[in-house]
């Protein structure tokens, strides 16, 4: 597998190191000459100097045969453009883009630059995982597959508490795939009983959350109760 990484900042440099350690062929592209010199001391020929938003720089790095292009510069416009050209001009199958400002995530989506990874978002999700504000944590969104996995706490006195999995009223397109209880997890069967305080993982079609959360909301918190 041949990987081109654009931007030799902390993220890019460390990614390159990890991938090289895993025996991947890697070229790192850096536009700041001073930074390039520093990184070259260690990575030698695996780093090239140039602006990765210029076509000839990408071509010199061998983008025509790249299997994966990772754009992790500190500039969101650059990351969008690099990935857009990699995909649409050079037919690169897989791209990964870094989002520096989470407010720009919508632009990555609009221009179909996916997956777009935002460190701020990841950290926010980790915080939510530790301190769930609404009892719901989105663990993973599979944009292309139109699926997501969420984690919910079974509220005391909720509709779902004390029920068998098969009796919990869930909309079509959603499924309980795991129950976490007392620090351990198991894959439930239809007759497994869900207890208050359990964490359940569900896989679902995006947009169904609002139909699912009331089932797990503590008594009195759900709509219509």
């Amino acid at each position: 597998m041949y990987v081109i990484i654009c931007g030799a900042g902390k993220v890019g440099w460390n990614l390159a190191r990890e991938l090289i350690a895993k025996d991947r062929e890697v070229t790192l592209v850096e536009s700041d000459h001073a930074r390039y010199r520093v990184v070259e001391e260690e990575l030698e020929h695996a780093v090239q100097y140039g602006d990765a938003t210029e076509l000839w720089v990408l071509e010199r790095a061998g983008i025509q045969r790249a299997d994966l292009v990772i754009a992790v510069t500190g500039d969101d416009e650059d990351n969008i453009l690099i990935c857009q050209m990699a995909k649409e001009k050079y037919g690169v199958q897989r791209i990964v883009a870094r989002v520096n400002n989470p407010r720009n995530l919508q632009h990555f989506r609009l221009l179909d630059v996916q997956p777009a990874v935002s460190a701020t978002d990841l950290i926010l999700r980790l915080i939510e995982h530790e301190v769930p504000e609404y009892g719901l944590v989105q663990l993973l969104a599979l944009e292309e597959e139109h699926l997501e996995i969420i984690e919910l706490e079974v509220g005391h006195g909720s509709e779902a508490a004390g029920r068998r999995v098969q009796d919990i009223e869930l909309p079509d397109g959603s499924l309980i795939i795991s129950v976490l209880r007392g620090g351990a997890g198991f894959v439930p069967k239809a007759d497994s009983v869900v207890q208050p305080g359990d964490q359940v993982l569900l896989i679902l079609d995006p947009g169904l959350e609002s139909q699912i959360t009331p089932q797990f909301a503590p008594n009195g918190a759900g709509p219509g109760t």
Binding site: T53, E77, L81, R103, N104, Q106
Partner: protein
């Protein structure tokens, strides 16, 4: 016509003034409040008194673009100093706000040519300079 120009540099401000003189509705957006001076320079009245609009915002900020009137724009000109910024906001204008005519300034001839093939109206000052200089040098 309502024309929205992002980037009040030499090109953006000059086009804005011409468009206003020609009787169009013109709105200019720039992240630098001082860039407003270019719009007033050599004019009898201020830009606003002449009927122009000016919004201070970074180009990628949707709220700023809306405040500057992108939803009503018939023409959108991306003329900031950054090629990649211009190419991204031009595509936002085209795909998200469905602006009818989107013009984008791209200094790099390579990118300008490829994005022109993708349907953007690109203007490449570098290419013009190359063509003109070649003509003069080889005359």
């Amino acid at each position: 016509m309502f024309i929205l120009i992002v980037g009040s540099g030499r090109v953006g401000s000059a086009v804005a003034k011409r468009a206003l003189d020609a009787g169009h509705e013109v709105s200019v957006l720039d992240s630098d409040p001082l860039s407003h001076e270019r719009l007033d320079k050599d004019q009898l009245t201020t830009w606003e008194d002449a009927g122009g609009r000016f919004t201070v915002s970074t180009a990628l900020e949707i709220d700023g673009l809306i405040e500057a009137g992108i939803e009503q724009a018939d023409v959108f000109l991306a003329a900031t100093s950054g090629d990649n910024t211009n190419l991204v906001i031009a595509q936002i204008a085209q795909r998200r706000f469905k602006v009818g005519r989107v013009v984008v300034r791209v200094a790099d001839p390579g990118r300008a040519a490829w994005y022109a093939e993708q349907g953007l109206l690109t203007i490449c000052p570098t290419q013009h300079a190359i063509d003109q200089a070649s003509r003069v040098v080889l005359a």
